[in-house]
Symmetry: C2
Subunit: 457 residues, 2 copies
């Protein structure tokens, strides 16, 4: 390792932070069609950034959806090629009134940078770019070959990249893949993840009358769509937290005895977690601890629901329609298409008389399971331990990056899933943040990992 690389990183802290703020200021919300211009602006911004750090072959790759930002540096003969992935799109910032500072005006408080995208994923993938910059501006070269691709649809199903990668498998050919879009286990334990969840997302619409009805004039005569939807949703899980979709658990890869032991050994602090979340108590599926449930069991959540009168005061109506959004996180080896079909069939089977129900599939992604006995993974883990100055653990994830499954099935290479976030970083929530020491440690970890991976075969 050339010390000059780490010194460069140390010297450029302030500038790197300012550059991170600039990409964060762009509200690249991919799930909202009216934010399309901001999404495209973010792609252009990163294309310029790729060029500025010294990457070559920089270009926007056209997909069926938002463009991919691509760059590479391929002059380390006989050294491995690492493909780096990140996403420049973000979640919507709602509910806006809960933000202490505006979501797209990055603000520093208590050693954290607060903004939408701070940790998911702009603040994490940017560390790779700054590490590349540090190597190229000091050593004039990278110790490995690097390809880097950022997508703009991670928060809305990764449709474009999921089609692009299989059609351009050679273009992305590599020896291992790195992703930084994960949290540490807790504030003292950085982590590398070896399992990601798959995701399916549904919108359910129940329709009754052609217009809202007076609840007195027609009460008792018609099925209430909100009552019908509540009854459908109530039957998605039982009181033990078990999901009731027929055959849902058939393909679930069970937690091993070793994993169970390892999870127990992590001393996950339920009380601190409950306190941070602001809940009275944690609740998990019967026979599984909260951490076991989050990491090794599929989960189902109603993400949104609406219908009828939601303003101030009383309005006595039978609403014409009722709507809900539902996400299901899948574990290896559940098949998203199979779950989409059984969910739709099940929901339709629950529809009471007098109303109709429609189920719309928003997106689907496979879960990922990574073999831990791999030299690239071990080399990266050691490098990040040095970068952060803390001992690292291996963990599973409750969250999903569906496109990682696509890459894995197409490229068939080891995946290195590192994380710079913290569980309380507010992913998808108001007041999202990244700890600045994680950001700076992440740049160093990446720079060190490039060198460590160079020696791996």
């Amino acid at each position: 390792m050339q010390n000059s690389v780490l010194e460069y990183i140390e010297k450029n802290r302030e500038r790197h932070l300012e550059e991170l703020k600039n990409i964060i200021k762009i509200p690249s919300i991919s799930t909202q069609p009216d934010k399309k211009p901001a999404v495209l602006k973010a792609a252009d911004f990163e294309l310029a950034h790729f060029k500025a750090v010294g990457l070559e072959n920089c270009q926007l790759l056209k997909t069926t959806g938002n463009p991919l930002v691509y760059g590479d540096w391929l002059h380390a003969a006989d050294k491995p090629t690492i493909l780096i992935y990140g996403h420049y799109d973000v979640q919507p910032p709602d509910p806006l009134d809960q933000w202490k500072s505006p979501p797209f005006e990055p603000t520093i408080r208590d050693g954290n940078l607060y903004a939408r995208g701070a940790t998911d994923d702009k603040g994490q993938y940017s560390t790779f770019l700054f590490a590349i910059e540090a190597w190229l501006k000091t050593a004039g070269k990278l110790p490995i070959n690097i390809k880097i691709v950022l997508e703009g649809e991670e928060e809305c199903g990764s449709t474009g990249i999921a089609k692009y990668v299989p059609e351009h498998a050679d273009f992305f050919k590599c020896d291992a893949m790195m992703v930084a879009d994960m949290p540490w286990l807790d504030e003292n334990r950085p982590a590398i993840s070896y399992s990601l969840k798959g995701l399916v997302y549904f919108e359910i619409a129940v329709k009754g009358s052609s217009h809202d009805l007076h609840s007195g004039l027609y009460g008792g005569m018609v099925t209430n769509p909100l009552q019908a939807l509540s009854q459908i949703l109530a039957k998605l899980k039982d009181n033990n937290g078990k999901i009731l979709i027929p055959n849902f658990y058939d393909d679930v890869l069970p937690m091993t005895a070793d994993e169970k032991k390892e999870i127990a050994g992590l001393d996950f602090d339920e009380k601190t977690t409950a306190k941070y979340l602001g809940v009275k108590e944690l609740f998990s599926e019967k026979d599984f601890s909260p951490l076991e449930a989050n990491w090794t069991r599929p989960t189902l959540d109603i993400c949104g629901m609406w219908g009828g009168y939601t303003g101030v005061g009383s309005k006595t109506i039978i609403p014409a329609e009722a709507h809900a959004k539902v996400s299901i996180r899948l574990v290896p080896n559940q098949d998203p298409q199979k779950v989409q079909k059984s969910f739709g069939d099940y929901v339709r089977s629950l529809c009471p008389p007098g109303v109709s129900v429609a189920v719309d599939n928003h997106s689907g992604g496979w879960p990922v399971h990574i073999e831990r006995d791999n030299a690239f993974l071990k080399a990266a883990a050691s490098a990040y331990e040095k970068g952060f100055g803390k001992k690292l653990v291996f963990k599973r994830e409750g969250a999903s990056i569906p496109v990682v499954a696509t890459f894995k099935s197409v490229l068939k290479v080891p995946m290195i899933l590192v994380g710079l976030g913290l569980p309380d970083d507010g992913y998808h929530s108001p007041n999202e943040k990244i700890n600045l020491s994680h950001f700076y440690g992440g740049i160093k970890g990446a720079a060190l990992a490039f060198e460590a991976l160079a020696e791996t075969k």
Copy 2:
């Protein structure tokens, strides 16, 4: 009957319609605090109208809420005194995008006047004022003594008048009471109602975490408030449409065999009703026809529900909160306070672990049952048959006017509940309307009823 009264009504059709439009243009939505100025403007407008038609002693009566508009004419010695009631407040017009013409810009299409308040209740109570005007401007007197009072809180619980009337029982002393705030049975059958429902209205709030959570990072660890609320709401009714609140049906006055026969004889057209409502089919409580259920059985409806992300596209969160509004229509002899208590206890008992639930009572009103064997009722029925030129039927109501119960318990007089509306008039719905021939016939019916009631003792 002086023919001049009916001639006057005929001659002044256009002007009466214009005057009705003027009161309708005021958006006196009592459930929305920001519409308070419009509510007060409507009260002032009607005070001026009372004076203009020739009523005396006109004044705004101060209540704990919105003012009552009062006027009288008490110079018919030895004749009965009739108290007339109506309400100058209206329901919110949401959902606004479903209106064909703006809700507060009264518009005539196909012989109907479309606007919020057209039938509920501005277009109905105004017929009494125009009938009073016709008598006083032609005969120079009324055949009976009249007291008339309009309230401004009917759509938000009638709190002010419910306190005012018992405290001023002598002031409202009368021999019978008239209300026009009801629909006909169908377009060929005007109706007088002998039973009104009571009403209780609740807002339920389920709270989980202190902020929305990422459904991947915390899925499987916490109770989802929307799932919890759905499970609570699903347990309010069974699949047969029976309400599951403990002891809920204990005080229900059963439908008599005569009523059952009478209802069957009305040949209620389920298919036409289903078509008008735009539903696939009607659905009613097991063992009760739709009309029986609406008229003689208590009904429960979720009027609104919301929580989490309700925008376009996907957002993968576990929402911090979930909310619902629920109305229950009570039949004689159910006690609203008793139902409020048992509903709250039941909902709290259904709360799953990991979240908390709060139940807020919005308002409560008693049901009303009126003896049909009464001379005032019969005299008014004959007069309105002449006014409309159609045979009239007696019916129950699925809807509520809680303050009628207050008047009944305080004044202990016969109640005459006439209706000018039609079931498809869009009460509380978009595109509310009143048929102009009902409006004009209602003015004549009222004028004729004043004379008929003069001969009743």
